[in-house]
């Protein structure tokens, strides 16, 4: 029964996530950036822009300039997230590639930093009056969700080990449409339930910042408005404009 429920939940979650993100990204893709508006100083070459974006995504360069506390917690949170994601790949592929096996111990301890980073961000939200002012309930709940995902994961890793072979069989079964029973430990159910929730809200929430950052015109444009002609796609061509007459000639 629980297996069926979670199996269906994961199919739905995956479809919502994939279709939702694709829809969002498609929207950003097809909407024009009608003028060249990078925040300057900005790179004057495409390679320069790739480097700028890399520094932004990998090291949160602007955030570093901005606020060291947020930067530390955000780095803890996101770096751990990537390590954790890599570690989790072992549940979805068989045999497990060596690289992923090598990443296992890192991913394991990253979980701790993930939760600490999340707690740090949560504390900021409550303690700094400016950040409290701009937070809505969803901002707290979302952090709480990640902290709980991390916490339930840590419990399973360090305290109450569930049948991970069974969990892997369940996910491989989902992928091959050959369902296998899901071990029904409490930890597994909470962890997987929250992850499904996370997948479902991703495309409808601020979490779209992850794909969105790559589309930001103030960061991804080459600073070349003088060198290159970029007409505004939705304005008529310059040959069709009507000029104002000088004052005397009206």
């Amino acid at each position: 029964m629980i297996t069926v429920l979670y199996a269906l939940l994961y199919y739905v979650a995956f479809i919502v996530f994939a279709a939702g993100v694709a829809y969002r990204v498609w929207g950003y893709w097809k909407t024009p950036a009608p003028a060249v508006i990078p925040t300057t100083p900005a790179p004057v070459t495409r390679t320069g822009v790739v480097w700028r974006m890399f520094k932004e995504v990998a090291f949160f360069e602007s955030l570093w300039k901005s606020n060291k506390w947020i930067w530390i917690f955000a780095m803890m949170f996101h770096l751990s997230l990537w390590l954790i994601l890599i570690r989790h790949a072992r549940y979805f592929v068989q045999p497990v590639p060596t690289l992923i096996t090598l990443a296992q111990p890192f991913g394991k301890y990253a979980g701790i930093f993930f939760v600490l980073g999340g707690l740090g961000l949560f504390a900021r939200r409550i303690l700094v009056s400016r950040v409290r002012y701009i937070s809505s309930p969803s901002d707290y709940l979302m952090l709480l969700m990640f902290i709980l995902i991390g916490f339930s994961g840590l419990m399973m890793t360090f305290v109450n080990k569930p049948d991970v072979v069974g969990v892997k069989a369940f996910f491989l079964g989902l992928m091959t449409f050959n369902w296998q029973p899901l071990p029904t430990d409490f930890g597994v159910l909470v962890h997987l339930g929250l992850v499904a929730l996370f997948l479902i809200i991703f495309p409808f929430s601020k979490l779209v910042h992850a794909p969105g950052v790559f589309f930001s015109p103030t960061r991804n444009m080459v600073d070349n408005p003088r060198e290159k002609f970029h007409p505004v796609p939705w304005l008529p061509s310059i040959d069709e404009v009507v000029y104002d007459e000088p004052p005397g000639k009206k």
């Binding site: 950003y28 909407t31 300057t40 602007s62 060198e227």
Partner: protein, 525 residues
């Protein structure tokens, strides 16, 4: 009132009065009473907007929002991806100066984001209070008008946001939405109308402009003994487009004299135009590309009519942005101009090239009574470039100043260049009805200036923005400076330049030993 006391308390501690980047505790509603005058119907209509608010204004506003989401990726994306990290919350000079939390960039954007969520996203439709979504009501509209006219579109927030969210883009869109329901701002919209009718923001008619230029020619001749011409509406190689404030405001006009002298010394054929006598483009402030183009295309028309090869823009911050980022895009292509020069070119680029080529001669001692600093105008700093490499917009004006002055010091590093603090009067806010906001928004810059005054004895600040200059000449007297402690960069050039055949040249060459001055300038840079 208790709130007012809180604001006063928050903003008058020793730290608050001296630290340029002091971050106050937010005091709700602290700037809610600061409001600009709305535009009269006739001025709205001239710009293609309804004169009055229509009955179905909500519908019109939401349709406009949808329209803009389809036209501007910035607007669409920025409404979605803000994670409310708070990194931008202490970066806006209007928040620093007023303590009103709605002047924190993210909170300013949230004024419209909350409405976007309510009508355009599922969570906002289903669980409005969970995600901070709200209906578009009368009060919301009022709040938009108040706080979107407390943003100078300076882009400081966009430097510090991890996604480059530029609240200026949101402000522009918000103003366009407001205009679309007949709620416009008097100052910006009347001025745009004047450009359409007459050709410049000041409403200066062609005959008056010509007369002023003749007076200036006489003035220069009296000072130097050289007949420096200021051609008006003549066929030429270079079309100079200055902000119209350069024609008679102080200290702008002294900068204009500087341009004229530089052109004269360079021996180029140049002209100004009475039809395109305005570099400023206030339509940028209200986010209207249609109106922005209508102003920009005047420059194109004159460039063709006068048969010029190059377009050079005078000292003005947002005008340089309007020219640098938008002129080619909106009124281009300019393939009929000389491809050896960028279109458009900044007057500082022009002057700096000449200095490097050793074509200008200076007597730096003429500026020895001044100790200078330079205010990076935000639109130049964060929305444009000068020269070939990123950051040239910081170096070139400083290089020019150092080539003509002996005493120069920068303000603290975290208040200049890309981190520069707005003068407080940009973005279409340079109007007397917003004087309180202008003083408060300018206070971080004033505090930074005071630091270098105390440390190095700086007594003058130079700028390359017409709005900055006007704004500073108004607010500096409240901060212990004189009105004329703000100077044009080309005013300094004008002081020091030694024109061939001038009285200054004769004097200098009488004492001979300083003749290597332009060489000196090259080395100093």
């Amino acid at each position: 009132m208790a709130e007012e006391e809180k604001v006063v308390e928050e903003l008058t501690t020793q730290e608050a009065l001296t630290d340029p980047l002091y971050v106050p505790e937010p005091v709700d509603g602290a700037a809610a009473h600061i409001k600009s005058f709305p535009a009269a119907p006739e001025f709205q209509e001239k710009l293609g907007y309804p004169g009055e608010r229509p009955d179905n204004w909500q519908e019109v506003a939401l349709n406009k929002m949808q329209d803009l989401r389809g036209k501007f990726r910035s607007f669409r994306l920025f409404l979605d991806i803000c994670v409310k990290c708070g990194a931008c919350t202490d970066k806006c000079h209007y928040f620093m100066g007023t303590a009103d939390p709605k002047n924190m960039p993210v909170a300013r954007a949230d004024l419209i984001r909350s409405v976007y969520r309510r009508y355009f996203t599922l969570p906002g439709k289903w669980f409005p209070s969970l995600v901070g979504a709200r209906e578009l009501t009368e009060e919301v509209l009022d709040e938009w008008y108040t706080y979107y006219f407390q943003c100078s579109e300076c882009r400081r927030c966009s430097v510090y946001c991890p996604y480059g969210i530029d609240t200026a883009e949101i402000t522009m869109a918000a103003r366009e939405i407001l205009d679309s329901v007949g709620v416009g701002m008097k100052y910006t919209n009347e001025i745009i109308g004047k450009v359409y009718d007459i050709g410049n923001n000041l409403g200066l008619q062609a005959p008056a402009l010509k007369a002023t230029m003749e007076d200036l020619e006489e003035e220069i001749e009296e000072d130097t003994g050289v007949k420096v011409r200021i051609p008006v509406d003549e066929p030429a190689d270079i079309l100079l487009i200055p902000p119209s404030a350069d024609f008679f405001a102080e200290p702008h006009i002294d900068g204009f004299i500087g341009y004229a002298k530089v052109f004269h010394a360079a021996g180029v054929k140049w002209t100004i135009s009475t039809y395109a006598s305005e570099a400023a483009n206030f339509a940028m402030f209200i986010g209207s590309y249609e109106n922005m183009r209508r102003i920009a295309q005047r420059i194109r028309r004159e460039a063709i009519r006068l048969g010029v090869k190059r377009i050079i823009i005078g000292e003005c911050g947002h005008a340089w942005r309007a020219a640098y980022q938008f002129l080619n895009t909106l009124a281009g292509p300019f393939d009929f101009l000389d491809p050896n020069y960028p279109v458009p070119q900044h007057i500082c680029e022009f002057t700096w090239d000449l200095i490097q080529e050793g074509k200008l001669r200076f007597d730096k001692s003429q500026n020895d009574h001044l100790t200078l600093t330079f205010h990076d105008s935000c639109n130049v700093a964060r929305a444009s470039r000068m020269g070939k490499y990123p950051g040239g917009q910081f170096d070139i004006p400083r290089n020019i100043i150092k080539a003509v002055c002996n005493n120069y010091y920068d303000m603290p590093e975290d208040t200049i260049k890309e981190a520069t603090l707005c003068c407080g009067g940009g973005g279409g806010l340079l109007t007397d009805d917003l004087m309180e906001l202008r003083k408060k928004g300018g206070s971080p810059r004033m505090k930074a200036l005071k630091q270098v005054t105390e440390e190095y004895g700086v007594n003058k600040m130079a700028a390359i923005c017409a709005i900055c200059k006007t704004q500073f000449s108004k607010i500096m007297p409240y901060n212990g400076y004189a009105m004329d402690d703000i100077m044009s960069v080309h005013q300094l050039v004008s002081n020091a330049i030694v024109l061939p055949g001038s009285e200054q040249e004769a004097e200098l060459d009488g004492t001979a030993d300083e003749s290597g001055d332009s060489e000196q300038a090259k080395e100093d840079a």
